[in-house]
Symmetry: C2
Subunit: 237 residues, 2 copies
């Protein structure tokens, strides 16, 4: 595999020798965020040693972090002991969106039960920053605030099972979403978020659910067109 395909360059800040939180935990969070926001190329190779070198840590905590990400399907473990960022396929995409529609549909229905004014204003603030990112064509911030919006919405009510599952779905979507947004931009994404916020204010769970499901369907439409109609290889930028 060519050097340019490697996803090892994640050196931003050397992991501080901090006490308390274990390195494997810190590294996990760091890698997770990078994958979530599309800083890893679909199909790109990941080597334990490469990650260890770029983070200036020994292999042991890297291994623990990476196995964890493999369990979440954010990374893929091949029989020949190689690790890579999964490529997106049509079947995979279809399953991910089916699961999202089901599970996020449940979460948004429940959200109404846990509304507080603080959480609502936080949600609106995130949505505002999302609008800003869109108007500036800032792909990375678009991805970040779009994720944060959904996360904040689903966190209106405590969820310790379904929400973590949903986050693994976003994690699997991250690398490919970045490619799509990078190519097409984010301008066409008129959002259903405002409708969802209004529905929450009206304490109307079904309206909120419809808005979010439409939001998901709209995103699905875009990424599916990319994958099927143009027959795009998601592993290339």
């Amino acid at each position: 595999m060519a050097e340019s395909d490697k996803n090892n360059d994640i050196s931003q800040a050397p992991v501080p020798r901090r006490v308390g939180i274990p390195a494997h935990e810190v590294i996990y969070q760091k890698l997770r965020e990078k994958i979530l926001y599309g800083e890893f190329k679909p199909g790109g190779a990941v080597t334990l040693q490469g990650v260890a070198d770029s983070l200036q840590v020994s292999l042991t905590p890297i291994r623990e972090s990476v196995r964890r990400l493999i369990a979440e399907r954010a990374l893929e473990f091949h029989g020949n002991r190689r690790i890579s960022v999964p490529k997106m396929t049509q079947g995979r995409l279809e399953e991910i969106y089916t699961a999202r529609l089901n599970l996020e549909g449940e979460l948004v229905k429940r959200a109404v039960n846990g509304i507080t004014e603080e959480k609502l204003t936080a949600l609106e603030s995130i949505d505002h920053q999302l609008d800003l990112a869109i108007s500036e064509g800032d792909t990375l911030n678009y991805l970040k605030f779009n994720f944060l919006f959904h996360q904040q919405l689903y966190q209106m009510q405590h969820s310790e099972i379904i929400l973590p599952i949903v986050e693994t779905l976003w994690l699997q979507l991250g690398p490919s979403l970045r490619v799509v947004c990078g190519r097409y931009g984010t301008s066409g994404l008129s959002d259903q978020h405002k409708k969802a916020i209004q529905a929450l204010r009206d304490e109307d769970p079904l309206a909120a659910q419809k808005a979010i499901l439409d939001d998901i369907l709209q995103g699905r439409q875009i990424i599916f067109e990319e994958l099927s109609l143009q027959n795009v290889d998601f592993s290339t930028i």
Copy 2:
């Protein structure tokens, strides 16, 4: 170590280094099965060193396996660096069953598209062995064949996203299911499996779905009664 202390006698010091599948993978499978079939007590502590000792392996591969199981929520990592089998709570149970109904409902609908006579007879064989386990009051085999039935059913059609998620849900249910079955036995579990098999033969996806959803709801009823009405502490045998 001094040179004179080295043992160069080949006949005495064979290095027992396995080849093939990595130990962290084998250990993962082993632990996973134990959790799935309820050999771990809910709330029970798990120590890396304890697992390492019992499996006669060093800590390194154990750590990788356990982090993976933590990511799947089969185990729980506490801030104070302790690991335990999660206790079941009413909220958790409710979320697990909501997710199961949604996701397994999708899988069984799709199953009809991938039917082969081979898979159907395999399914019937599993169901037969399940009946046997029930009639003998064999809790462990009940759990095993009940899981295998659902797994075989959902594998009629390839699923690389939703099925693995569903399996993590079963994994979280394992320890508590064992407790419930151990206390109540398995005799009351009249199964919807026969109806599901017939529906598959009729290529009727909705009937198959209904059968499986009823099966899930029936199981939910039993375990919910245990947890809420009797206010049972699942962490005790």
